[in-house]
Amino acid sequence: MPVSTRTRGWQLARTGGVHVLLGCAALALVVPMIATGTYVFTWTTAVIWALFAMATNVLFGWSGLLSFGQTAFFGLGGYTVALIHENRGNVDGLLLLAVAAVVAAVAGAAFSVIALRSTGAEFAVLTLVLAQVLWLLTNRVRALHGEDGIGGLYSITILGRELASDEQTWYTFVAIAAVCCWLLWMLHRSTLGAAMRAVRDDAHRAAALGIRVRRVQVLAFAIGSAFSAVAGGMLGLQQGVVSPTMLSLTISGQVLVACLVGGLRVFGGPVLGAVVLILAQQALSGVATDSTMFVGILLLVIVLVLPSGLTSLPGVLAAHLPALRRRARGPSPVTADPAPATAPKAGTETRS
């Protein structure tokens, strides 16, 4: 680590979550310099997915709850924003996103209170059922316009201004994502965050320590749903349209893949995973028309080589670094004659 973790400044910054904000600010400034046109847009999509993946990780990596139906809250967020905008017009985009978050939090809490009677794969399938039911409802409920979707979201204003250009959209979304990530960081560092990790690692022991396991899980689910909905709302704002494709199984699968590829245990892992996934998809679809196969192969390579995700790479390297260093120096001094008192100090050459 380049910065010593022992300095007070660093400790304070970590506690206050300043490094999250600084990181986002740096990203916000750097990307428009290196990327142009379509690529700023792709990066904006990557930021949306990064937030979505971070939200999913609250349930998945932090609390150990596997959910196949995260697209339900993603789509719920998008549709909430679209429906309110369609029926009420002039509501500010930030307020729309906040409402979407609250709606999803309530829905997520209500759902998980009932569904958490099951665990593991059964729970995952219940979340899948939720997503499928919502998808079916888009066709059954007239107000949701079925396959046609709900459009006109480009006219939503954020703090009075429409999102007229790519750059504007980028900065706005990075700002929103930064605030959300900061909130998540504070959660991560809080007692509730520690409780989630305890529940993930061993629910029995956590219960024995007095942690209300069910309550922690419901809260994790609700928070994860809320931020997933914010991400969904942001996607609607970026694309101008919400439609039932926002409730497809592919999205559920992709967000889990983003978390896993990035690494579940590191705070920023899902962000890295989402960015890699979105950019790789963009790159591969430029290369071949039917790029699904290549995306699958890329994921296979990543999962076989780094099962704990890309963020585990430093750890892997650190584990193997001594071995690499030893090879460069030659055979170990231990194999040489150990007897003489004037044994050569470490670092000097030995007989080869």
Partner: protein
């Protein structure tokens, strides 16, 4: 009363093909604790193999094509297990899921490159293209044949699991992997065998649905979701559970359609929600330690 019997029969006909897919899924989960997402891709490949191999519409040709599909997919599944899953067991079940998803994408993506985009159809095998009348309402002969095949497979699996030494080892492994390995059961070899059998079942299931539907990329996910639901309702790892669940879900769906049509389409989801509320581990599943704490 006139609607009850045909509703039940068509419900069974609807459920049994799902059982064939679900049986492979649940078998693999029981031993390897991997929810094999790639199963949908295996199913699709099985269907495509039939479209390539089948010429004409003789019954014998169809049976051979179905067997070929099963064998090719079994080989594919074995390859996936050896090359991918085996390396991921140590890393935990989540990573297994990621590997399965990656395989799903890779294989379904490959089918487009191999077989193209155009949807395909297959004719009914000769002799099975008519219908049987049950006091008026008709049921397709082919559907009854598929039910027959499904029952045969269920019986075969039961005999395999309960009355052969291989089956005993499989069951031992799914109950307690550590203990079984300690007792000398070759976990990796049995695991590969189970994967091969499960994939064979997926391939045969794909072959069985070819005459009744359009064969294209959407087939992978459209049958996978009901199969997942069946596996969960039946209880993870339980093949008889999958059979009961598949038939029950099919019949309930059918009856709901007949008597409460507005709920049709949601029936599978309603049933799984209700069953899991009453019995969180599914009908025949084992209550895990984690489930106990959740209550």
């Amino acid at each position: 009363m006139n609607t009850l019997l045909p509703a039940v029969v068509s419900g069974i006909a609807q459920g049994v093909p799902i059982f064939v897919i679900a049986s492979g899924l649940t078998l693999i989960y029981g031993v390897m604790h991997v929810l094999n997402f790639a199963h949908g891709a295996f199913f699709l490949v099985g269907a495509y193999i039939v479209t390539t191999v089948l010429h004409g519409n003789s019954l014998g040709g169809f049976v051979l094509a179905a067997l070929a599909a099963g064998l090719v997919v079994a080989a594919l599944g074995t390859a996936c297990e050896v090359l991918v899953f085996r390396r991921l067991y140590r890393a935990g079940s989540h990573v297994g899921f990621l590997g399965a998803f990656a395989l799903f994408l890779a294989i379904t993506g490959a089918t487009v490159h191999i077989w193209g985009h155009d949807p395909r159809t297959v004719q009914y095998p000769a002799g099975l293209d008519g219908a049987v009348s049950l006091n008026g309402p008709r049921v397709a002969t082919y559907d009854l044949a598929v039910v027959g095949v499904g029952v045969l497979l269920a019986v075969g699996l039961y005999v395999l699991l309960a009355h052969t030494s291989v089956g005993t080892r499989v069951r031992a492994l799914s109950h307690d992997r550590a203990m079984a390995s300690a007792l000398g059961i070759r976990a990796s070899r049995i695991g590969t065998l189970v994967f091969a059998i499960g994939s064979f079942l997926a391939g045969v299931a794909g072959a069985l649905v070819t005459p009744v539907t359009s064969i294209d990329g959407s087939l992978a996910s459209s049958y996978l979701v009901p199969a997942f639901v069946v596996v969960i309702v039946g209880g993870l790892g339980s093949v008889p559970g999958a059979f009961v669940a598949a038939v029950a879900l099919g019949v309930i769906d059918s009856l709901l359609f007949a008597y409460v049509p507005s709920l049709s389409g949601f029936s599978y989801y309603i049933v799984v929600a209700v069953i899991l509320m009453i019995r969180p581990q599914g009908l025949f599943g084992h209550a895990s330690r984690a489930t106990q704490i959740a209550r």
